[in-house]
């Protein structure tokens, strides 16, 4: 009888004591083919195997992009050899102004931001329709071009795991970099989990996420 009680209580204890932290799997990242600041092609497949933080901006973006780029910069500064806790990390800023953002403009934005080109790509779609499909529909980022050529846009960052699954969406303004890093570290631990811990993660996803 006692054993039955223990068995029944085990799932509750698992969720309560959380030997692993579950970051939900939200959806697949949209597939894309872009051109980066060097004029080279960057596709969604190129990011597989790396944890990726996506941001959305444009070459002539001023103050309203500073905070978001600042969070991404702070995250980048915590990487060591392009990795966090032994897992490769990349950053991608997608322009929603391909009509004006040439690779040279993106390169200039990258330089202004102080980005390390080895880990942080600035890329653009082939035309405004492709940008709308990717950023607007695919990533769900609302943006609107104003008469003076600037944009109003949702402040969004998206954290994607090595499989290309979206794990966290930050939609309420630039998140605290420490929060983003903490979640990235959780994903890194999950990515490195093997054997018994791998099964523990899958069980945790089952127990924590299936109620949705």
């Amino acid at each position: 009888m006692g054993l039955l009680l223990l068995l029944a209580a085990a799932p509750a204890a698992f969720v309560a004591f959380r030997p692993v932290t579950v970051i939900p799997r939200l959806s697949l990242t949209p597939g894309y083919s872009l051109v980066d600041q060097n004029g080279a092609r960057l596709t969604s497949d190129d990011l597989k195997g790396s944890m990726t933080l996506y941001g959305f901006s444009y070459g002539s973006c001023g103050e309203d992009c500073t905070d978001l780029l600042g969070t991404m910069t702070a995250v980048e500064e915590n990487l060591s050899g392009g990795e966090l806790e032994g897992v490769p990390v990349r950053l991608v800023t997608v322009s929603f102004d391909p009509g004006r953002d040439t690779p040279a403009d993106l390169a200039e934005l990258a330089t202004r931001t102080g980005a390390d080109p080895a880990v942080w790509s600035f890329a653009t779609a082939s035309d405004t329709a492709a940008a709308r499909a990717l950023v607007g529909t695919g990533f769900g980022v609302w943006y609107e071009r104003l008469p003076d050529g600037t944009y109003r846009h949702d402040p969004v960052l998206v954290l994607v795991d090595g499989l290309g699954v979206r794990r966290v969406e930050y939609r309420a303004g630039a998140p605290d970099p420490e929060r983003v890093l903490a979640q990235m570290r959780e994903l890194a631990v999950e990515a490195r989990a093997e054997g018994a811990m791998r099964f523990a993660y899958e069980a945790a996803h089952f127990l924590s996420c299936y109620s949705n």
Binding site: A9, G31, S33, T43, T137, E202, H205
Partner: protein, 201 residues
């Protein structure tokens, strides 16, 4: 007491996790757990419209390619055919859908006859540029016309071009949710093993 509960919970989690990821053998594909809902789509085949939602009840394998593809696509479709053969009677529970990412050249007739050339049970579909762009994106698949050096196939000299595209194969469960992602290197035996797990669910 709490320590005992935690230990039991971890052990339970271990067993639960093992049960969920294959039991007898680990899954070769990358498991998406909990399953991600896959949006519906309606694309065109030689026999009329094909709605992904109508295929529920069977395990669906989605592969994105094009009929002029020199290697990746034939190779993948051949392995899918071999995998279905390895499944025996369980193959009836698996529907392979080939989606063309080259609507400029692949008509519904072309896509269908291409897919059927590998296995008469395969479905081949295509759509408008906008439809294919939306469907591919929603499944995390990229595709782009390849740049080619002058003098090589695809340089545009005779309207022949190559399309670079994700080789990832998606496997949906009977409820129409995305469960597995296979890389381009998965063998027919591994596909059959993963598929039999999903069929048995």
């Amino acid at each position: 007491m709490a320590a005992a509960l935690v230990l039991l919970a971890i052990a339970g989690g271990f067993l639960l996790g093992r049960a969920r990821t294959g039991g007898a053998g680990a899954l070769r594909g990358s498991l998406i757990d909990p399953p991600l809902p896959a949006g519906d789509f309606v694309l065109a085949s030689a026999d009329g419209p094909v709605a992904l939602g109508d295929l529920r009840g069977r395990v669906v394998v989605l592969f994105f390619g094009y009929t002029f593809c020199p290697d990746v696509c034939p190779f993948t479709l051949q392995r899918l055919r071999a995998a279905r053969q390895l499944l025996g009677p369980a193959a009836e529970e698996v529907q392979v859908v080939f989606v063309s990412v080259d609507p400029g050249r692949d008509t519904p007739e072309r896509a269908t006859s291409y897919a059927r050339g590998f296995d008469p049970e395969f479905v081949g579909v295509t759509g408008t540029d906008a439809e294919i762009a939306a469907v591919a994106s929603s499944f995390g698949i990229f595709y782009a016309r390849a740049e080619a050096d002058p003098g090589t196939p695809g340089d545009g000299a005779d309207d022949y071009y190559l399309v670079d595209h994700s080789a990832t194969v998606l496997v949906l469960d009977r409820e129409g949710s995305i469960r597995l992602l296979w890389s381009g290197e998965v063998t027919a035996e591994e596909m059959a093993s993963d598929l039999s797990w999903l069929v048995a669910e």
